[in-house]
């Protein structure tokens, strides 16, 4: 009878229960709610009689009192804590201990297509709480991950709104899509710059192949699963987060001043032509001149506001947030504004059926800067004034400079007019049905619609000789992404005695479509932005071009998780993916299996009596993942048809089209096979926890293009194919110590270090190397070499032995026919008496060997302090700026002070003629140590006393001040050694500083209010 009653009540839902309780007798229940962690009392906890609207809240001391039926169930809800349901059972006193969500997340880990108890995980998965991300000044959520997770290397660019480059466990691919896969609430993305960090509940980083393989097709570079905040049962909680601050360039390079500049340019002329007259008759007359960096940089404002409402009943929960971020660039005129809105709703429609959706919208407006501005600020001659006395622009041409620095950067800032607007709607809907007790069927559909518009307008102007425009031009580019993903999973979960089993089976289909259209018109007038339409341009001057890509994929996947007595763990995954990229002459389908096993040693009987180790788990896994991030249809030969092939006859243009490329006949998937061994342990009453792991990851048949003979006559002289095998081997270590003293002092210190060794195992060209890294290097010389036995993209060039001091020195060397005093003296490695390509050697490794971070939090009464330190070590960078010269570009003060300018003046720095072909050739002078350590984030917070706030009906007010990148220590002579790769060239261009965006520090004041 009781069984039947239960069943009916369950099936009938809330109304029957309500009728039922109406007959029960009411009693007064009193008690106190405390935090399971620090045992403090929690005010404002929602206390609700289950199935009714009857509820109350705890007071400032955490105490509550409520009238409820003697057989009722009370629901205790508070944001940040695990909701607890407690049957009254005729008791009049109930003391409740709530576990914080963070503890819960520590125990449950988000993995692909579900969650797993941390104890059951056999792969390598790192979890980061949303609040650790939103605590930083970073506008991009991934940027804030820097230094937080062992083995995850983040390279940030200081440009507002830009996305960082993220490498998980070393560079495993050198072509196509190098980024990790982001899965936001089940929808796949390549970039998450549209996400407001405050909307994130949790990030889960899948580091090893066995955890990644459930995302087979796109997992080879790692997967980051992002769960956004969902509604929680309880009264509405309104939160406001706001901050205001500014960014300031740090470690600014000092350039030569006007006098020094004039001096060194005269030396350069003399070096090129001994008989030529100096350009500057009296260098000292120019004084300090213009400091172009100071002219172009500013302290940039950063403002951030976010408001959210969260709450719900048992049947419906909601989370709604609005965000606003404005970030100025440290270069004048650059500006980035992001608006975000997000709504998620979950409905328990029937006891077995839950449906819900998340939808978020982002709008980004930016005022852009000319991509060459950093080069211009570096190169501009300090002898040129910003403005002449009459207010007109200083003109480099008036000083006879021309060539590589024939510009006034202020003109570029004033006349470069480009605005970008990016709109994006993403979301997903799902339905989850539980049936036959152990089965859950979930179907979800998600998608993204994004539109990006870039509008550039060049007015008619005459600023300097070289910077002018005789005909106005309007350029409009629109770019659209329309992506969808449909997923179905069926999960079976059951326990038989000591056996715990979960089986997952699923299918996915997805489609990713990009379309862009570019157009331009000349002679567009300008009186207001209302004129900026192509229609106003001259007839016969309008152009239009477009393009796009389409990728589809279909996948099947399955996973079995088995554990015995929570002691022996076994996980197995298989995914089969079909990807359209490989359609027509490719290996259309790929299979990606994985297995993992674990042993919780401390669960064994023989460990019961020892007190040293509180917890010990050994784990190991193996898996295979794929990388479909290659160009679409790489094996299909296509027709080239562009403006460069247009023929003119009698002044009229005619379309030209032909074949000017070659393609491989067949392409295999690029696969990564990884093995992972790990250990998790806790000591000292769980205060000290340690996680450590070793991995060995091999990329097989990596896809990229290699140079082929130019005599084949193709436009690019390149051919794509399965070219090489790579290996990343490494070690990761994470230790956390957390404790709380009796004197209201609590702290947690967590240190992580990742060691990675990157190596090329084999290349299809045998011992023939792949040269790369020509971007931003003088004469396009290739500064990196990827060859068997070396790391990917190792710096490669001549070893500098010294500087030629005089003619006799030159005459006695292998460079006797070409060198001049003041030039680099190179080591004749092979001793054949000439310096040529065969003398080049490996000069450095742009892949950091060590990356580390230290995260710590300290709490004392109402104060809290966060302190994060982060760094990399054993890494090299290439300073390409020094030798990237066409003429009279400026020099750094460091170069000026140390240059060779006559016998005996320097044995390490060359003469002003550092830009000559021989001196600019990649060599050891330009390779510098790229190690750095920085105070990544420091934040001090204070929570206003609750007694005061309660009078104002405010639950919590916290004020904070923080600083990001406030202290940076490194030896590198450029702005920052934190240098990624050129996105157009890939990892063979990693670590080359070709006027990178300068590093900046951010200082903020903030306020958080919860109502």
């Amino acid at each position: 009878m009781k069984r039947i009653f239960t069943r009916i009540s369950v099936l009938a839902g809330i109304c029957l229960l309500a009728i039922n309780v109406a007959f029960a007798q009411n009693i007064t229940v009193k008690g106190r709610v405390t935090d399971g962690g620090d045992k403090s009392t929690i005010p404002s906890v929602s206390v609700l009689v289950k199935g009714t609207q009857n509820g109350t809240q705890t007071d400032a001391t955490g105490a509550f009192s409520i009238n409820a039926p003697a057989n009722a169930t009370l629901v205790f809800t508070y944001i940040g804590y695990v909701t607890q349901e407690v049957p009254v059972n005729n008791r009049t006193t109930l003391n409740i201990v709530l576990a914080s969500n963070s503890q819960q997340l520590d125990q449950v880990v988000v993995v692909g297509y579900g969650t797993q108890r941390k104890i059951d995980v056999t792969g390598s998965v790192a979890s980061v709480k949303g609040e650790d991300i939103s605590k930083q000044a970073s506008v991009n959520p991934i940027s804030a991950l820097q230094g937080k997770v062992a083995g995850v290397n983040i390279t940030n660019s200081g440009s507002p709104g830009s996305s960082p480059q993220i490498t998980i466990r070393g560079t495993g691919t050198i072509y196509g899509n190098l980024g990790v896969l982001y899965v936001v609430d089940g929808v796949w993305f390549d970039d998450v710059s549209f996400l407001n960090p405050s909307d994130i509940e949790n990030l889960s980083i899948l580091k090893d192949a066995s955890s990644q393989s459930i995302y087979g097709i796109r997992a080879a570079n790692g997967v980051v699963l992002i769960t956004t905040k969902k509604g929680k049962t309880g009264d509405p909680v309104i939160s406001y987060n706001g901050s205001v601050g500014y960014k300031k360039v740090t470690n600014q390079i000092e350039m030569a001043n006007a006098t020094e500049y004039a001096t060194i340019i005269n030396e350069l002329i003399k070096s090129n032509d001994a008989t030529a007259a100096p350009l500057f008759a009296n260098p000292a007359s120019y004084g300090e001149g213009t400091n172009w960096y100071n002219q172009g940089f500013r302290n940039a404002l950063q403002t951030n506001h976010q408001i959210s409402v969260n709450g719900g009943t048992e049947k419906t929960t909601y989370n709604f947030s609005l965000g606003y971020t404005n970030e100025e660039g440290i270069v004048k005129t650059q500006d980035y504004t992001r608006y975000t809105a997000k709504l998620s709703n979950d409905f328990q429609v029937l006891k077995p059926l839950k449906i819900g959706y998340t939808v978020s919208g982002t709008a980004i407006n930016s005022n852009d800067i000319d991509g060459g501005i950093f080069r211009q600020l570096y190169a501009a001659g300090p002898v040129v004034p910003v403005y002449y006395a009459d207010g007109s622009y200083g003109d480099a041409n008036d000083f006879g400079l021309g060539g590589g620095n024939n510009f006034n950067p202020q003109v570029t800032l004033d006349y470069f007019n480009q605005k970008s607007k990016n709109y994006r709607i993403t979301g997903n809907v799902y339905a989850e049905l539980t049936f036959a007790k152990h089965f859950t069927f979930r179907t979800s559909a998600g998608g993204e619609f994004a539109q990006n518009e870039v509008r550039a307008y060049a007015p008619v102007y005459q600023a300097t000789q070289g910077q002018r425009n005789t005909q106005s031009k309007l350029d409009i580019k629109r770019d659209e992404n329309r992506n969808w993903i449909v997923e179905n999973t069926l999960t079976y979960k059951n326990t038989f005695g000591d056996h715990n089993i979960t089986i997952l089976a699923g299918t996915t289909a997805q489609r990713r479509k990009n379309y862009f259209i570019n157009s331009a018109a000349f002679d567009v007038p300008y009186s207001s932005d209302g004129d900026l339409y192509l229609a106003l341009g001259s007839a016969g001057t309008r152009t239009v071009g477009d393009g796009g890509s389409l990728r589809t994929s279909a996948s099947y996947f399955g996973r079995v998780n088995y554990s015995f007595k929570d002691r022996y763990l076994l996980n197995a995954t298989i995914r089969r993916d079909g990807a359209s990229q490989f359609f027509n002459g490719g290996d259309l389908w790929g299979n990606f299996p994985a297995v993992g096993a674990g042993w919780v040693v401390t669960s064994e009987d023989f460990m019961k009596d020892q007190k040293v180790v509180n917890y010990l788990k050994l784990k190991g896994s193996w898996g295979k993942v794929g990388n479909a991030g290659v160009p679409v249809n790489p094996t299909t030969l296509t027709i080239a048809q562009g403006g460069n092939l247009v023929a003119f006859f009698n002044g009229v243009g005619y379309t030209g089209a032909s074949v000017n490329s070659i393609v491989p006949s067949f392409l295999n998937w690029e696969r990564t096979v990884g093995t992972d061994l790990g250990l998790e342990a806790r000591f000292l009453d769980n205060r000290l926890s340690i996680e450590t792991g070793f991995y060995n990851k091999k990329t097989q048949q990596a896809i990229f293009d290699i140079n082929v003979l130019s005599s084949i006559g193709t436009a690019s002289s390149k051919l794509i194919g399965n070219q090489a095998d790579f290996q990343n081997r490494g070690f990761e270590f994470l230790a956390t110590y957390a404790d709380k003293t009796k004197s209201d002092f609590s702290y947690s210190v967590s240190a992580n270090v990742g060691i990675n060794n990157n190596k090329v195992l084999s290349v299809i060209t045998g011992l023939n190397p792949i040269y790369g890294g020509g971007q931003g290097i003088a004469n396009g010389a290739l500064a990196t070499r990827t060859v068997q036995g070396s790391p990917i993209g190792a710096f490669f060039g001549y070893q500098v032995a010294g500087i030629f001091q005089n003619a006799a020195d030159v005459a006695a060397s292998a460079q006797k026919t070409s060198a001049k005093p003041g030039d680099f003296k190179y080591v004749d490695t092979n001793g054949d008496g000439v310096i040529d390509g065969k003398d080049r050697v490996v000069l450095g490794n742009p892949n950091p060997k060590y990356s580390y971070g230290l995260s710590s939090t300290f709490g004392y009464k109402n104060f809290d302090l966060t302190l994060d330190i982060q760094g990399v070590a054993d890494v090299d960078v290439y300073n390409a700026n020094i030798a990237y010269r066409f003429g009279n570009e400026n020099f750094s003060k460091d170069f000026y002070d140390n240059r060779w300018h006559g016998e005996g003046t320097s044995t390490t720095y060359p003469s002003a003629n550092v830009g000559s072909t021989a001196n600019a050739a990649p060599n050891s002078f330009y390779v510098e140590d790229g190690s750095y350590i920085r105070l990544r984030n420091i934040q001090l917070g204070y929570v206003l006393p609750a007694s005061l706030m309660n009078k104002l009906s405010i639950k919590k007010v916290r004020v904070f001040a923080d600083a990001q990148n406030a202290v940076n220590l490194f030896g590198y002579k450029g702005f920052t050694p934190e240098i990624g790769y050129d996105t157009g060239s890939g990892p063979t261009s990693r670590g080359i500083d070709a006027n990178v965006y300068p590093l900046s520090a951010t200082y903020r004041l903030g306020l958080q209010v919860t109502f």
């Binding site: 060539g403 000349f522 006859f649 002044g651 030209g656 140079n707 084949i712 026919t817 830009g915 000559s916």
Partner: protein, 493 residues
């Protein structure tokens, strides 16, 4: 009833699940078959006359490329001559000096660029020659298209063999990867292949085109180039016969030497072949020529000021030769088009043959990108005719052709540039060589012309030119690296 509902949900869900799992594989076949987007697959090309037309157009379009007309071409073919030098500011692109003093090594990027540019032309020609024959189209047009492709292929190989000697000879498309890496073919065979192409081209090309096709290769262009090819091999009877034929095809010298190089006199009566260049604002990316830009007067709106005339050239003109002022822009002068050249600046002289008046410079495009590149002029044909006639013992014809060129150069002024009247074969030869120097100055002819004459050491020796080495340039080192030893280097490099 509740049980029923529960079962119903189960059934629906199982049906939904099964159907989803089943339908996905069912649609997979089409779902994954995605064709290239915004790019025509090559298998659908080469089907119509229109495709053939586009493919031939592409050959002409590519001739404007940077590699064909700008730094790589000027570095390899012009700057090493005694008529031209690097120019620009001392510190700008100083590596170009290595071409002037012959110290350029195989790693100089301009060699790779020049090499690549020629082989890109050759690939586009080979695409046409391989694929057009099978297209069902107008037979006479097809024959003409094939002849046009052969002309450009011959022109490109001529530039290659002249610069490098033995080069890989690709007369067909590589069938597969095994044909990518081929060795250098002895230059005699390369010359033979060029001659064969030019024979075919002359046979298949019309003497002239309707106005709408102005700028395509003509029979006259094929014959004139063949004459030049023959001249480089000292096949004087062929030079004479080809030039004699060209001289019957209606070409003449344009009366005003200076004006013949201006925009409004492109494709004039003297023009044998020009690379057709335009700035069309409504055709994005088509204003690719940087020929005029890189040579434009530095310090003005016109360009960068590279490849400038030398003092040697300025001194080479006889008194009263109108070509001196027409070839050289001097600092401080006012051009016939009214542009005032600043009196001070980096270089004393600039190339006037690539000059585009400042008022016609359009910002937002390469400066002077509308200027055609004069590849061959009738004056060259006359001088080749003169040289061949002289070598073959016909000094009268030699002097007639030579003096025709000199007559125009007087610009209507009497008493200057007297007719050559010598009867001495060697003196006439010297006069013709001298005439070539001034008539064709700054047109990328001089350097290889002097080498052909066997006077490399005599003319360029003071600049560092070495016999036995500098007759040809080095094969680009990157290309040798990529060939894994299949390609060999020229002696001395």
């Amino acid at each position: 009833m509740k049980n029923y509902k529960n079962n119903y949900i189960q059934k629906v869900s199982i049906i939904a699940l099964c159907s989803t799992l089943l339908t996905l594989p069912a649609c997979k076949k089409d779902f994954l078959n995605v064709d290239p987007q915004a790019q025509q697959p090559a298998v659908t090309f080469w089907k119509s006359q229109d495709d053939a037309t586009k493919a031939v157009n592409a050959i002409y379009g590519n001739l404007r490329s940077w590699e064909n007309t700008a730094f790589p071409a000027l570095a390899v073919e012009s700057i090493p001559g005694d008529d031209a030098e690097k120019g620009s500011s001392v510190n700008d692109a100083s590596y170009l000096n290595n071409f002037d003093n012959y110290s350029a090594s195989s790693t100089e990027g301009q060699f790779q660029g020049f090499w690549t540019g020629q082989y890109q032309n050759i690939n586009l020609c080979n695409q046409v020659l391989a694929n057009i024959p099978a297209i069902n189209m107008d037979a006479s047009l097809k024959a003409r298209y094939l002849a046009e492709a052969k002309f450009v292929r011959a022109y490109s190989y001529f530039r290659l063999v002249r610069a490098f000697g033995d080069v890989p000879l690709r007369l067909s498309l590589p069938k597969d990867a095994s044909e990518f890496n081929i060795p250098r073919t002895p230059k005699a065979q390369v010359w033979a292949a060029i001659e064969k192409d030019l024979d075919d081209a002359a046979a298949g090309l019309p003497q002239s085109y309707p106005i709408t096709d102005l700028g395509r290769a003509t029979k006259g262009a094929a014959l004139a180039l063949h004459a030049k090819v023959a001249m480089y091999q000292a096949k004087w009877d062929q030079v004479l016969s080809f030039t004699n034929t060209v001289m019957t095809l209606g070409y003449d010298l344009f009366p005003n030497y200076e004006q013949s190089f201006r925009l409004n006199n492109e494709n004039n009566i003297e023009s044998i072949f020009e690379i057709q260049c335009e700035i069309k604002q409504n055709i994005a990316g088509s204003a690719t020529s940087q020929y005029s830009q890189v040579q434009g007067v530095r310090g003005t709106v016109a360009g960068w000021g590279f490849n400038v005339p030398t003092a040697t050239l300025a001194a080479a003109y006889e008194a009263g030769d109108t070509r001196r002022d027409a070839t050289i822009i001097f600092r401080g002068e006012t051009t016939p088009e009214g542009d005032i050249i600043p009196a001070t600046g980096d270089n004393p002289m600039y190339n006037q043959k690539s000059y585009v008046p400042f008022s016609l410079i359009i910002t937002g495009f390469n400066e002077g990108a509308q200027q055609n590149v004069r590849v061959m002029r009738f004056a060259d044909v006359l001088l080749m005719n003169a040289e061949a006639a002289n070598e073959l013992g016909n000094p009268t014809q030699a002097k007639t052709s030579l003096n025709r060129v000199r007559a125009r150069a007087r610009g209507g002024v009497s008493g200057v540039l007297p007719d050559v009247t010598s009867t001495d074969k060697d003196a006439i030869r010297q006069a013709i060589w001298k005439e070539r120097q001034v008539e064709l100055a700054m047109e990328s002819d001089r350097y290889f012309d002097v080498i052909r004459q066997g006077r490399g050491t005599a003319v360029f020796g003071t600049k560092g030119w070495k016999a036995g080495k500098n007759e040809v340039w080095p094969i680009p080192s990157t290309e040798i690296d990529l060939s894994a030893g299949t390609l060999t280097q020229n002696p001395g490099y």
